[in-house]
Every structure is written in C-alpha cells, then in structure tokens.
C-alpha cells in the first residue's frame, strides 16, 4: 500500500470519464426522457380533454333526442286531434244528409197519402152517388145536386 503516480493517473482518467459523461452521455438521454415525459403528459391531457368532449357531446345528443321526442309527441297529438275532428265532421255531415233524406221521404209519403185520400174520396163519392141513385131509382142530376154532392164529399 503505497501512494504513487498511479493516483494522479487514475484521477486524470476519472476526470476524463466525468467530463465525457457530463458532456456527451447524460444530456442526450435526459433530453429524450424529458421529451417523452412531456409527450406522455400531453397525451394524458389530450385524453382527458377528449373524455370531457365526449361527455359534453353525449349530453348534447341527449338534449337533441329529448327535443325530437317532444316534437314527435306533439305531431302525433296534433294528428290524433285532427283525425278525431275529421271523424266528427264526417259524422255530422252524414247525419245532416240522413236527416235531409228522411225529410224528403216523409214529405213524399205525405204527398202520396193525400193524393191517395183524394182518389179514395172521389171513389167513395161516386159510390155514394151510385148507391143513392139506386135507392132513389132515378138519376141524380149531378148538376142540380152538385152543391149537395160537394158537401157530402167534404164530410167524407
């Protein structure tokens, strides 16, 4: 164990190795590591941002969907209302038409009845006149007895 020139020689090599490491070995790798750290941090931030955007757009999509649903319900309700209205209209117009037809038919029947009555009255009058002629055995002059006949007719 004796100290000699080796000490200085080893110290010189030590200094050279330190200088080399400080200048050429340490900085490039540290730069690469720091760059990567930055990239990772950026990536994480971007991911976080994307997540937030996704959440926001999901919320917006839900809102839109709700709006569309409400609009659809409105349209359906409107259509239903309109349908009911149309049915009501059809019903009332059909009823009016029916009423009109019934009224027509009634007046026709009335007319028929009164004309039938008239005919019947004529015939009865004729029969009565005939019957009376037979009973009286002589001709009833229609002109002389017209007043009487008409009165009879009225009474029938």
């Amino acid at each position: 164990m004796n100290i000699n020139l080796t000490l200085i020689a080893q110290a010189v090599s030590f200094a050279l190795f330190i200088l080399f490491t400080v200048k050429f070995v340490w900085p490039p790798l540290m730069k690469a590591i720091e760059e990567r750290q930055k990239q990772i941090a950026d990536g994480l931030a971007a991911g976080e941002e994307g997540k937030q955007q996704l959440e926001a757009s999901g919320k917006r999509a839900n809102e839109e969907l709700g709006k569309a649903r409400a609009r659809a319900a409105e349209i359906i309700a409107h259509a239903e209302k309109r349908g009911l209205q149309m049915i009501e209209e059809a019903k009332s117009s059909a009823k009016a038409e029916g009423d009109r037809l019934i009224a027509g038919a009634k007046s026709e029947i009335q007319q028929e009845v009164s004309s039938a009555k008239e005919v019947l009255r004529e015939q009865v009058a004729a029969l009565v006149v005939g019957g009376a002629e037979k009973i009286l055995q002589r001709e009833v002059n229609a002109q002389t007895h017209a007043e009487l006949l008409n009165q009879l007719k009225r009474e029938l």
């Binding site: 080796t6 020689a9 080893q10 110290a11 490491t21 340490w26």
Partner: protein, 268 residues
Amino acid sequence: MAAEQELTATSYIQHHLSFKAQSFGDGSFWTLYVDSLVTGAVLGIVATALMWWVVRGATSGVPNKRQAFVELLFGFIDDQVKGIFHGKRDFVAPTALTVFVWVLLMNAMDFLPVDIVAWILTHVFHQHEFRIVPTADVNTTFALSLSVWLLMIYFSIAVKGLRGFIHELFCAPFGGNPILWPFNFLFNLVEYVSKPLSHSLRLYGNMYAGEIIFLLLWLWAATSLSGAFFGAILGVGWSIFHILIVVLQAYIFMMLTIVYISMAHESH
C-alpha cells in the same frame, strides 16, 4: 506463473498481490501501476462508450430494450441525486453515474477467477504480475476520493465565495465567537481530512479483503482434493456474497460522492 519458481503459499499470495510497476524517476512516488491504470481505463472506456453508443441513438418515442436498460440506470442515479441534492443536476448526476458505473465495474473484476486470468495474462500477454482489481489498489480509491474532495472544495468556494468558505472554516459549526475559531478550524480540519480517508479506505478495504479471501480459498483448493472441493463450494458462497459487497460498495461510494458535493453547496 513462472515454472522455475517454486510454488509456496507465500509466493502464491505475493504473486497475486504484486503490481505491474513502471518506474518514471527516482523515489517510490514516481512509480506507475500499469495494471490499475490500464484495467481502470479499459473498463471506464468500455462503460462510457457503451452508454454513449446507446444514448446517441436514443429516441423520445418507444425505447428499445438497450435504451430502456440505460434509462433505468439513469433514472436510478437521478432519483438518488434528486433525494439528496437540491439544485441543478447537470453536473452532479452524471458524475454520480460515472462513479457508480466505473467503481461497480472495477469492483466486479473481483469475480474473475484470478488464476485463469493470470494464466491468460502470462501466456497471451506475457505479463507475470498483473492485478485486475483497480479498486483493491489504494491509489485508485484515493484518486477517486481526492477528486471528489477537490470537487467538494471547488463547489464550496464557487457557491459561497472564497470569503464564505474561509468564514465557514472558522465560524462553523460552533459559532462565530473569536474564542471558538481554533476549535471550529480544528473540527473542520478533521472533517476535511477524514472525508477522503474514510471515503477511499472503505472501498479499498472491502475490495482488498475480498481479494485476499478469494486467494486464501484458491490456496486451499491447491492443497488437496478435499481442499479443492470445499474451496470451490466456499468460493461459490463468497462470490455470491461478494456480489452484494461489490454493488453495495459502488453504491455507497456514489452516495457519499453525492452527499459530500451537496454538503459543499449548503452554507451554515
């Protein structure tokens, strides 16, 4: 191992514990342990070059496995530094990385079986004496710890200014009263001396002891068949335990480096 030399326990240990020394002048100081220097330099160059190669193709996108491994290492070191040192880590973190990787690799040389390495070195590289664990050489550990110590003083002066540094030498930790100046200075002196000493000797002691225990086990293995058997089993056990020591010592050395440099940034 030279064939003409007789093999004894002493010569075996001595052989494995002798440095490849190259003298550059008179006096024992002007000697260079080529083995420590070369192994340390090769390991350091391999480690930094590997990291440099991976880092040059680094992408901020999806990393491949190679880059992911280096990133794990960087992240581990950066986290440790972050926990202790509060400031710009442009210099401290890469320094800690260099310390950790280099010390770890130099310590890990202890795992290589000494005799096989010695055989290869003798027959391929014709080196009879070559120690392959640079951190079991007190020069290496002192080189590291004194470099850290100089950094510590540099940062102390750079952050607080020369006045602040000297002020702290005399006025901390007991207070600014002039009567206390000598005590403060003495205290700081002890601290400044003990820091590099404990820093380097802890690592050196652990690695040296590990090496010696391996050598003793292999020495036992050379005595007989049963010695070889038990030596191998104990060698496996010690190797496994040594994995812990190697990593732990590298980790401790790095942590202390960070702690000392970060302490230099704090003013009292």
